[in-house]
């Protein structure tokens, strides 16, 4: 009889273990759940790779996109003020995704391009979001070698699908606790929008459970844009992105190259926000490629 009881205890313990692990496996690894739609979870932002060189050689990183919804490539280069091959004026440099130029892969993603000039040394920055939800395997993100562009930096982040996140972060409260222990919280991917035509670019998300949001904006001014400006409205606050006279390039010659993307990083405080937050990037003549993506900063635990 005692043996029977012992085996019963062991069996029950084993079943509890199985149930516990199985529960973790089947729990959606929800980061932050929409309170109005508890089944809807948002991908978390994870670090994937980076590389930095002071020279002008090829900059390349490999990432495995399996389990990822999005890649985010943050790129900065310095156009060189020099002569001959080391003169950035009139040249174009494109980020490549698996060997394909970014503007061929995503027409809304302008390459770095510098009109003829010998006074262009500020960093050119690109903020690109690439949909990889249907992709698997190794992909290469690269900036080709070009002596006209040095001081290169490439940072690749990703948005991981909810059901592929590590199981130690399997509840909202635990994720918040992990971030909360450091006084902040892990970033969530809130949305992306883009266009190459006249349609509006808008991302709407629930700000009730966020303390803030980061908005990354990329826009391409056409050759006729100098002197004009485009605006982006983030939660009712209008920000102006001017293009005057040319993007860091004097209007001294008409080279074949066009204009580099402009934009930036905006932070919006949502601590008192209880409803939907709108980021609107309406069409403005003379700006033809617009895109944005948003990271949310959850309320601390």
């Amino acid at each position: 009889m005692r043996i029977l009881v012992l085996f019963l205890i062991v069996t029950i313990a084993a079943l509890i273990s199985v149930h516990s692990v199985a529960s973790q496996q089947h729990h959606p690894i929800s980061q932050i759940q929409d309170p109005n739609n508890p089944t809807q979870s948002l991908p978390a932002v994870v670090y994937l790779a980076e590389k930095q060189i002071s020279g002008y050689g090829e900059l390349s990183v490999d990432v495995n996109v399996g389990g990822l919804d999005w890649l985010f490539a943050f790129v900065a280069v310095r156009p060189i003020d020099g002569d001959g091959d080391a003169q950035a004026g009139g040249k174009t440099l494109c980020l490549k995704y698996n060997g394909q130029k970014i503007d061929e892969l995503q027409p809304w993603s302008p390459c770095f391009s510098v009109r003829n000039s010998n006074t262009v040394n500020s960093p050119l920055t690109g903020l690109y979001a690439i949909d990889v939800s249907s992709k698997t395997g190794k992909k290469t993100i690269s900036l080709p070698s070009d002596p006209a562009f040095d001081n290169r930096y490439l940072l690749v982040l990703g948005a991981r699908e909810a059901d592929t996140l590590p199981n130690q972060y399997h509840t909202t409260s635990e994720i918040l606790h992990q971030g909360g222990s450091l006084g902040s919280s892990y970033l969530q991917f809130m949305g992306e929008a883009h266009t190459t035509d006249t349609s509006d670019v808008t991302v709407t998300f629930d700000g009730a459970y966020l303390e803030g949001a980061l908005v990354f904006v990329n826009v391409h001014p056409t050759d006729s844009a100098p002197g004009d400006a485009i605006t982006i409205e983030i939660n009712g606050v209008v920000h102006t992105i001017s293009s005057y006279p040319y993007v860091r390039v004097p209007d001294t010659s008409g080279g074949d190259a066009k204009n580099s993307p402009i934009g930036g990083v905006y932070y919006v405080d949502l601590t008192s926000e209880n409803g939907n937050v709108n980021v609107e990037f309406p069409y403005t003549p003379k700006f033809d490629q617009r895109s944005l993506f948003v990271f949310g900063v959850p309320n601390g635990a």
Partner: protein, 159 residues
């Protein structure tokens, strides 16, 4: 043990169930551990690294002549990513602006042109200092040509 044959069968069944349960639990736990520990990488396996906004890592100063300052604690972070943008206002000739505490190129450089477009930069930074002082160089902006200074610091926590 002098058990009834039916009890023998029952005990044997229970033993089998317990064994199967423990085996399944061990297998699933191992799988979970592996999923927990690594994200597949094309070059090597690396741990999952969530990205967060670093506490006190946001600063914004719209006014010309004033500086944006973010003082962050780097002790808990393996690496920081400093996003900045600044708008040259009016004629900002021959002005070069760098980020104090971030000794990296490229720096913002406006040379003899008028330019209102926001200049945006991304700077990786690793430091265990408890008070990393990130701000634009006020001495370089002595003529107060720059406005709308923004700083956003992201980071990946130490494992």
């Amino acid at each position: 043990m002098n058990l009834h044959p039916l009890r023998h069968v029952a005990v044997t069944c229970l033993l089998l169930i317990a064994f199967a349960g423990l085996t399944a639990a061990a297998y699933m736990t191992e799988q979970t551990h592996q999923e927990n520990a690594y994200v597949n990488s094309a070059t090597e396996e690396q741990p999952v690294r969530f990205v967060q906004l670093v506490p006190n890592g946001v600063a914004f100063e719209p006014t010309k002549g004033e500086n944006a300052v973010a003082i962050v604690d780097g002790t808990s972070f393996e690496k920081l990513f400093i996003f900045v943008s600044v708008e040259p206002h009016g004629a900002a000739p021959n002005e070069l602006l760098s980020i104090e505490g971030v000794d990296q190129d490229p720096r913002f450089h406006i040379d003899g042109i008028n330019a209102h477009s926001p200049l945006t930069g991304i700077f990786p930074y690793a430091d265990n200092n408890a008070a990393i002082n990130i701000k634009f160089s006020k001495t370089q902006d002595a003529n107060n040509f720059y406005k709308n200074k923004r700083i956003v610091v992201l980071g990946i926590p130490k494992i």
